[in-house]
């Protein structure tokens, strides 16, 4: 690898600073940090190359980049958490005048959790499930401050209150699984800040959270940073989050820092072609105002940074044909809890009285936060989950009345794509076998014909035909999602349920896969039921939008109407929580709320009140009560 970063753009100190925390000494000063990790063959491969940056007190530096760019390795190198034998780290990591890379392991342990603390992406798995919240916080104080159990407990309680956890005293003795994702991330923050570190490293801390909870968590971090005066190294792939939190930003590409400077400048005039490409590929809320039809993302050349304009959108929806899918008053509930004798104690009202139509060539987006029932709805319309009541007509057939044979035949016209491109392909099957399986299972073609069809399908989704002979692990996430799409297309369905189909993909890959889905919609007149929590993506590619809350559709209508003129309070709240690409918003006073996403679990036998909908515009309906 060559040392390109130094030649391509000036170093930090030569750069004009718009925010100037330069008056104080940096808390952390990283220079020429290079890390190589041991590979399977025993050789070392450079993962991050010559990274240099400073973080001042009260300053937030964002490191942004796609997966594999080396963001997390940078953080783990600073913390020296990579394992001595499997990594080689060089350069300087200076904290309060000491080079951390020269310290012994025991000295380094005294720094971790004390001077530098860290929070992680998955609040669900980052806490020990078998230890109470209190025990996990107190052990940090006992370790670094030498406190007694009682003192540490008092201090932990104080810290939980400072991260605004409701009923903090009771929470001390709770286990993590009793808390929601947002509350667990607050516990992680409390645990990280309890020793008042000078630097907090936050590695994708809000990526796994719902958008309203993300907004809360970011606001909380900002308030605590102001109070504690610590520096924050914020690692993320999300440009929206960067613009919300970061004073300065470092863009990483394949282990190198390709752009570095104030966030405002970066957003206003990105210099490096990759930064331009990254920013252009970010789906941004509000860019579709006044545009009626779904739009492809511009294809960006990562070398030149030039955008190729997407082809003009074509109207794929035919309003005069009968809908592909017609759902009326669909209700799905799950039973939970058991009594000694008799039925269940509770029911999860996953889908409650949902009605909609989906037309040929149309994309209906189902949006909402976790637990709102959007995935269950997607599965219920295919009867992968058995609905409790309601009507589902797929191409004119009432599929709730079908027997097993009929159901099998029905599946030919409706297919699914899932979120996780790693888990949804059988690792032991060749790609060709996976794609041909549905064709053969339905007896649609002979083995030889199926092979030909597989080749055509692979080319159709932008892969080469010889991909059929390879195994899923040989492909990247985006390529695997293309394979999943090819498998879904193999039965020539009229409708595809895409359940968070692009959520796990990097920005630029996401844009490519979405473009592919729009291409396919145009050429095959596919109808998509597009389940997503990502409002910006939904705004870009859907014709109509249904907003779900606690199993019910609270607002449904044309995309323009729902995004441009949101009527239901929940729709407004959801839209307001989405990070915007306007770094100026950072100067607003953070608003902190403690609202949790409510639970759809009800006592068995509970019947929800009847809802009525009012019309807010053409085809735009809003739940009134």
């Amino acid at each position: 690898m060559t040392m390109a970063s130094g030649q391509e753009f000036p170093k930090d100190n030569e750069m004009p600073e718009t925010h100037s925390p330069a008056s104080t000494r940096p808390v952390l000063s990283v220079s020429n940090l290079t890390t190589a990790l041991r590979q399977r063959d025993g050789g070392f491969q450079t993962i991050i190359d010559d990274i240099t940056f400073d973080i001042a007190p009260k300053e937030t530096l964002a490191i942004v980049g796609e997966s594999g760019s080396g963001k997390s390795v940078t953080a783990l190198s600073i913390m020296r958490l990579l394992g001595g034998k499997s990594s080689r780290i060089s350069g300087r990591v200076e904290l309060a005048g000491r080079n951390l890379l020269d310290l012994t392991e025991p000295q380094m342990r005294a720094i971790r959790g004390n001077d530098i603390a860290m929070i992680f992406q998955e609040p669900m798995t980052s806490l020990n499930p078998l230890m109470t919240v209190g025990a996990q916080i107190t052990e940090v104080l006992i370790r670094h401050r030498g406190m007694t159990q009682t003192e540490a407990r008092r201090e932990s309680l104080h810290m939980l209150e400072r991260v605004r956890i409701p009923e903090a005293r009771a929470r001390l003795d709770e286990y993590p699984h009793r808390l929601s994702g947002g509350m667990r991330q607050r516990v992680m923050i409390a645990m990280a800040l309890v020793c008042k570190p000078r630097l907090l490293i936050a590695d994708e801390p809000t990526t796994a959270l719902d958008v309203t909870i993300q907004a809360q968590t970011l606001a909380l971090m900002k308030i605590l940073q102001e109070e504690e005066g610590m520096g924050i190294l914020f690692i993320t792939h999300d440009m929206g989050v960067v613009s919300e939190v970061a004073d300065r930003t470092l863009v990483m590409l394949r282990g190198k820092a390709v752009e570095r400077g104030s966030t405002a400048e970066l957003f206003a005039s990105p210099r490096h072609s990759y930064a331009r490409a990254l920013l252009a590929a970010v789906p941004t809320l509000g860019t579709m105002e006044g545009v009626a039809l779904p739009q492809r993302f511009p294809a960006i050349d990562q070398v030149t940074g030039k955008a190729a304009l997407p082809p003009p959108p074509v109207d794929t929806v035919s309003a005069d044909e009968p809908p592909v899918l017609r759902v009326r008053n669909l209700t799905t509930r799950y039973a939970v809890g058991r009594r000694l004798i008799g039925g269940p104690k509770f029911a999860i009202h996953a889908v409650e009285n949902v009605s909609f139509d989906l037309r040929k060539g149309e994309t209906l987006a189902l949006v909402g936060e976790s637990g709102c029932g959007k995935s269950t709805l997607g599965r219920s319309v295919l009867r992968l989950v058995e609905p409790k009541s309601g009507e589902i007509q797929l191409q004119g057939t009432d599929i709730r009345k079908l027997d097993t044979t009929g159901l099998r035949r029905m599946r030919r016209s409706a297919q699914l794509i899932f979120q996780d491109p790693y888990a949804s392909l059988d690792p032991r099957y060749r790609v060709g076998t996976t794609i041909a399986e549905p064709i053969l299972a339905h007896g649609l073609a002979s083995r030889a014909e199926a092979q030909e069809r597989v080749a055509r399908l692979l080319e159709r989704v932008g892969l080469s035909a010889d991909a059929a002979n390879r195994y899923p692990h040989e492909f990247s996430g985006g390529q695997r999602q293309r394979i999943s799409i090819a498998r879904a297309l193999s039965l020539e369905p009229a409708m595809i349920v895409a359940d968070e189909a692009v959520s796990a993909l990097d920005v630029s890959i996401k844009a490519q896969v979405l473009n592919l889905m729009l291409d396919l919609q145009e050429s095959l007149r596919l109808a998509y039921l597009f389940i997503s929590h990502d409002m910006a993506v939904v705004e870009r590619i859907s014709h109509r939008v249904a907003v779900m809350y606690l199993g019910e559709v609270v607002e449904i209508g044309p995309r323009n109407a729902v995004f441009g003129n949101p009527q239901h309070p929940y729709t407004r709240k959801l839209l307001a929580a989405v990070p915007k690409l306007e770094p100026s918003r950072r100067d607003r006073k953070p608003m902190l709320s403690n609202d949790e996403i409510p639970s759809p679990i009800r006592a068995a036998g509970y019947e929800p009140p009847k809802r009525s909908y009012r019309m807010a515009g053409t085809d735009h309906f809003v739940c009134e009560n």
Binding site: R109, G113, A117, M118, L127, L130, M131, Y175
Partner: protein, 306 residues
């Protein structure tokens, strides 16, 4: 929780019912017990007489009803080998010896496997790991009868440190316990080592390291408890198996437990005793799995039975 325990115990009833039915049918298809009891040279008259006396000439369902009503009254029939003593009593008399041996074997297995697995996982891929892994494979690969005989030769005969046979002398349980526990220790070490390694890769262990905790603290406070569930499962299964009698080991050490009893009963066609052992084993297996499930929920607050 109480609800859960009651429900689980109620669920045992149909299972036990199935076991008794199976035992009843198997005993009737495995040969004519009267013929077996009287031997080859009995006259037809004698056979018919005994058959009538035992009620075996009645229709099958009538026999089954009387068999079940006997069982419900705790009457498992009488042992023909032990002077017509009640079969249940014969079995229950042997239970303490078996429990003692099983307890010793478990103790040996846990005392060896717990530290061995921790050492192996802590120094993964280094010499202590290789040693622990080698020994655990060895423990599993050695047939327990052979290892038992080796123990007898070394500690019983050559060194004369420990008694080698029977239950009466103090310390008599040590050698059979070692013989039986060694292979179990091998299984448990390998199992715990791999589940420790799995937990060490979890996100919350990275969190613990980022907190600056000492590796020892991390292992004992964070890793071990999270790894222990599968270990407990196997201990539960093995306890049940041990309580049903360690046939070979008891034979080698002339240990007067259930294993030895059952072998003798089978050889003697003492069907009442065999039947009592089977039913008792079924109960022990079900009780152990209930206890393991309850322990699960005590260790892991996420597992809630109710």
């Amino acid at each position: 929780m109480t609800n859960y325990i009651i429900r689980r115990i109620l669920q045992m009833i149909p299972v036990l019912f199935g076991v008794t039915l199976l035992v009843f049918l198997l005993l009737r298809v495995s040969g004519d017990p009267v013929q077996l009891m009287l031997g080859e040279d009995a006259t037809a008259e004698q056979v018919a007489q005994l058959r009538a006396a035992m009620g075996l000439d009645r229709p099958l369902h009538v026999q089954y009803i009387s068999y079940m009503s006997d069982l419900l009254r705790g009457d498992f029939g009488t042992s023909i080998r032990y002077n017509n003593q009640p079969a249940l009593q014969v079995v229950l008399e042997r239970l303490p010896a078996t429990a003692q041996l099983a307890g010793m074997a478990l103790l040996v297995a846990i005392v060896i496997s717990l530290p061995a697995a921790i050492i192996a996982a802590y120094w993964r891929g280094r010499i202590p790991d290789y040693i622990a892994s080698f020994l655990s494979v060895l423990g599993q690969a050695m047939p327990s009868f052979w290892f038992g005989i080796m123990l007898i030769l070394v500690f019983g005969i050559t060194l004369s440190w420990l008694p080698v046979s029977g239950q009466d002398q103090p310390g008599a349980v040590i050698l059979p316990g070692l013989a039986l526990g060694a292979s179990l220790a091998g299984v448990l070490t390998r199992l715990l080592r791999s589940s420790l390694l799995e937990v060490m890769n979890q996100d919350f262990i990275r969190t613990a390291r980022a907190k600056g905790l000492h590796p020892r603290t991390i292992i004992f406070r964070h890793v071990l408890r999270n790894s222990i569930l599968s270990y407990l499962t196997v201990i539960g299964l093995e306890t049940a198996a041990l309580m049903a009698g360690a046939v070979v080991t008891e034979q080698v050490f002339a240990w007067p437990g259930i294993g030895l009893l059952v072998i003798q009963a089978i050889n003697f066609r003492d069907m009442a005793v065999v039947q009592a052992v089977i039913i008792l084993s079924a109960i022990i297996v079900m009780m152990t799995s209930l206890i393991v499930d309850i322990l699960y929920s005590l260790i892991d607050p996420r597992i809630q039975h109710g």
